[in-house]
Symmetry: C2
Subunit: 342 residues, 2 copies
DNA sequence: TTGAAAGCGGTACCAT
DNA sequence: ATGGTACCGCTTTCAA
């Protein structure tokens, strides 16, 4: 039924030129007379010719494909990052292959082997939700294949893209200060997570630059990221005296638990204690009150990682080291809009 | 530094055999003496030879790659489905390419053109969140390329995979009946969504088979999937008399709004009115009370779609028509555990 | 400016 | 049971 796809050779024959000529016009290379070029272009159009990328790839040793290797395809944060990667890859005409390793080294080994066999041009290692630093790739990555870590903490000799947790925390606390809060608590994440340290530092810096005292009793890590544990941790914070008037939570889930605890204690948000979260998951905006939170720049992180490897493909090896992408504060109803007079 | 990758030819030379022989052992084809086979295998191992998939693909006209084309990569339901596809594809040794069209036909056209140039072996059209039927692919898909719709409503002549919305709704209502509920309301989704009809039917069937009367005043569609609109809609349901003792909501978000309205009315969940949702988003389990809900079989849907196209690649063209994947009821705390005596 | 031909790294048919 | 070799579809010297 449907004709076999036209090949370059078919076009050449039909246009009465050599295949090399067709190839030249196809790639916009010089050395083709205007008349001939016109004719070839016309023929290409007539025959609906589309070059076979595989053949081209075989010849020039490029697959125009990069791969995202992740340990958790269903991770809460993966979509947005993937979209960022896909977006810039698309613009560059390269495809994005997906790989889920389930965090299993053996599987990662197999996946990488296969990807390398497929001649992927570059690799992005993306974390779904990782605690601690990732091990080096389960298979040595050949020199020519650029790779970057996306939301992964690992060997500093590889380029990696991370959110600016510290900056985000600073912005959150600064906002709280502006709204008049003075006793600002930090309901932090479990301490073994990398981001936890960074957010603590941001908190501390922001307090310091506002001339506010740092108090150990105002900082408590939650046992996990679960709202339930946050609920418990918030209990301690609520026992502080003098009482706190704001709490910065290291995630939206934690904030959910915190809000719950605050209400349970007969207090109001934001009138009695203001709350700001981190991540800006969709639940943040739907919560009551809508949660002021620090948005993770996932899309931009994906784009950044994509650009890095794309540049890498074009020769500029990604320079090692960490890129911190700024987080944006989204002010909503769980904090007061402006400073309140004394 | 790193040696160029060994090729089949290199192996042949080193093992003192013809390339065709190496190819034979590589593909486990018969017609190779045991001794020679041994030697070749050994050489392959020694040289760390791995066949170039691109070259192979060029020759046998297969890329061992399928593509997921979606209108919304960040859709709430996409991850799990993608993982299902990736999972079965992986087992079959085929890669999964990702494409986001943003629901834009022009972009879809460009994407498909590119994918076809890349010789993808099959296509899965996946919806992020679609209302109504999708248009046919923006580019005619060649005969040899199997395709399936995943969570897409569209041309019935293409194989498509959908959740069994009706069955899920039936199960939800049946559960409510078992727990003793008699005045069961349906807080449905916006009526222009396909699933809304199906869930209504399930509700009706389940009620009928329980011998319970159907009452128009107990069925109200929400203006949108937003919890806020559900809150409003729930107001009407709460005004019914005699009062309802349970509500089946067509989504977890709707259920969130419903629970809120119920509480606002001074009623308790599940003591006064039981609530069941649909989807089983992560918020369902974290909600208070934890939400009984009908889980969308996203992973299995992805697997199913994957298997369909994979079979298609191997010759068995996916038979047209809709596959309904069963939904599973997850009983939690927003419904009573068992029937309560009179 | 244009064409011929040698690959890229495999597969598969045809001899031997 | 093996080897030789013509492709797959495109790029890229090298000559003309």
């Amino acid at each position: 039924m449907s004709e076999a796809r036209a090949t370059l050779k078919d076009v050449a024959r039909r246009a009465n030129v050599a295949v090399s000529t067709v190839s030249r016009v196809l790639n916009g290379r010089p050395g083709v007379g205007t008349a001939v070029r016109e004719r070839v272009l016309q023929t290409i159009d007539d025959m609906q010719f589309r070059p076979n990328t595989i053949a081209r790839g075989l010849r020039i040793q490029r697959s125009d494909t990069i791969a995202i290797v992740t340990d958790d395809l269903e991770g809460i944060f993966t979509n947005a990052m993937m979209r960022g990667v896909e977006e810039v890859a698309w613009e560059a005409g390269v495809g994005v292959l997906l790989c889920n390793t389930y965090g299993d080294a053996e599987r990662e080994r197999a996946q990488l082997a296969r990807l390398l066999d497929k001649q992927v041009d570059a690799l992005i290692f993306m974390s779904g939700n990782r605690v601690g630093r990732r091990a080096e790739p389960a298979v040595p990555i050949p020199d020519g294949v650029p790779m970057v870590y996306l939301y992964e903490y690992g060997d500093p000799s590889v380029a990696s893209v991370l959110p600016d947790d510290q900056g985000g925390a600073e912005a959150a606390v600064a906002h709280l200060v502006e709204t008049g809060a003075r006793r600002i608590a930090l309901l932090n994440g479990p301490s073994e997570w990398e981001a936890t340290q960074d957010r603590l530092h941001g908190y501390e810096r922001s307090l310091a630059s506002a001339g506010l005292p740092l108090s150990d009793e105002l900082v408590v890590p939650s046992a996990s990221w679960d709202p339930e544990d946050a609920f418990a941790a918030m209990g301690m914070l609520l026992a502080a005296s003098p009482p706190i008037d704001a709490v910065f939570c290291a995630s939206d889930d934690l904030a959910t638990g915190a809000v719950h605890a605050i209400r349970e204690a007969g207090l109001r948000v934001p009138e009695d204690v203001q709350v700001v979260g981190f991540d800006d998951r969709s639940l943040a905006v739907h919560q009551r009150p809508a949660l002021t939170t620090v948005a993770l720049p996932l899309l931009e992180m994906g784009r950044c990682a994509g650009r890095l490897v794309l540049d890498g493909i074009n020769g500029e090896a990604p320079v090692p080291g960490i890129r911190r992408i700024p987080c944006e504060l989204r002010v909503r109803a769980s904090t007061r809009p402006k400073a309140v007079g004394p």
